[in-house]
Amino acid sequence: MISITLSDFWNYIIQYEVIVEAVIAIVITVFIAKYLTVLIRRRLHEKVPLHIISNINKLIYYIIILIGIAIAVRLLNIPGVTLTELLVAGGFTAIVIGLAAQQTLSNFFAGVLLMTERPFKIGDFINYNDNIGMVVDIGLLSTKIQSWEGYYIRIPNSSLFSSPLINYSNSIVRLVRVQFVIPYETDVNKVIEALIKEFDAQWYVLAEPAPTIFVAQFGENGILIEARAWTAGKTWFDYTQTCLK
């Protein structure tokens, strides 16, 4: 139990040297934390993605700052507050916060797992529950994507980790299928010939595997033609835009 008498308080006030020491301890830990984060960024920037470095740095920074605060409290030697008591109180607070922030912790651990497994990286196009967009940030608690329309969508990491997700940018190649109907009077061979010629002229249609065009169905309104062509994952967007035209 914390009990402070007036004399204790006075003694404490006049111990300004201790206060200076505590402040110096915090300043030093802040300096160490900042130095370490810079060092980590410099050492890892070629090997580890930037967002992972940023999250590691955040963690390390706050852990060092907490250590600094603990040292400062120890130096201050506040009557009735020992380091052990502080740790016990900290542990108890952690349990309370843990229970209250279950969802947050679940997002945090999902964030760590996402960084380890790396199902996507910044710049990838993903589809989560019909939320399609480019990944712009992978945080410890949530991931932000920018939609085609330009607005930002924040998705909690635990949702991303536990649900199916499509990553459009991971594929080396992608198959694009287009179907269209031609009237029965049209010469099918000529249509196929023209399409092959067109595919051949387009840089984004891969030469190998070669495109295929075939009659898919004879319908009521005409002949259903299906064209299948492969494109590089990186050029898929250009290709689909052209197909739409």
Binding site: S171, I172, V173, A201, Y204, L206, A207, E208, A232, K234
Partner: protein
């Protein structure tokens, strides 16, 4: 060095102003301080934003006997690279495309690589080539215990240097070592196709390396 722009109609301009140089191609306009120069150099016709691999696809497969070596020439397409230079360093700012590019997949959908697709004839004797082509010697060494057929060669273009001699361009010799059926190693060996050719300054830093393992067949 020969002006490679002679037989190609190009739509760009380099204007020298008092204190800067303006490079303009269509809507693209780049201003450079006058202490820099703008120079044209050939670049292998590819697009590094899409792939760093270049694939030579032969019109007819090349057959190589067991423990034998075959040397042949191919003509590789060259685009025009526009570089900014301070005299010793070069930075590519634009590419004037002369050839229509095609790409293809080498390997499987899950593990393959995209390469710049270039279908060409192979020549046993040194052929005449144009200013927009780099004549390149390919050495195929068959170390596998069987007759091998080679229909394509994929190499890493980042490690491929270009050379010039007598107003013509040449590529680095590419060595293909067939180790076993379906497996070959391909690497540029840092030597020009013809003796005495000088390296193009923009490719000097490429050095030795860039071995590509063709494990899905040749």
């Amino acid at each position: 060095m020969k002006q490679i722009t002679n037989d190609v109609e190009l739509s760009y301009s380099i204007i020298k102003e008092k204190d800067h140089i303006i490079y303009q191609k269509g809507e693209k306009k780049i201003e450079i301080p006058s202490n820099f120069i703008i120079k044209e150099f050939p670049v292998l016709s590819s697009n590094e934003a899409i792939t760093e691999y270049f694939g030579i696809v032969f019109e007819q497969p090349i057959y190589v006997g067991e423990e034998q070596e075959v040397k042949l020439y191919v003509k590789l397409p060259l685009d025009i690279g526009i570089y900014v230079s301070d005299g010793s360093n070069y930075k590519l700012i634009d590419v004037i495309e002369i050839y229509t590019k095609k790409y293809a997949l080498y390997g499987t959908i899950g593990e393959g690589v995209i390469y710049r697709y270039w279908k060409t004839n192979a020549y046993l004797e040194r052929p005449i080539h144009s200013a927009n082509e780099a004549l390149t010697l390919i050495e195929i060494i068959n170390k596998a215990g069987s007759i091998g057929s080679v229909s394509k060669i994929i190499f890493n273009s980042k490690f491929f240097s270009l050379y010039f001699k007598d107003e013509k361009f040449y590529g680095e010799i590419i060595r293909v070592t067939r180790l076993q059926k379906g497996l070959a190693l391909v690497r540029p060996i840092n030597k020009p196709t013809i003796e005495g050719a000088e390296i193009i300054p923009t490719t000097v830093s490429k050095g030795i390396g860039g071995q590509f393992e063709m494990r899905f067949g040749t």
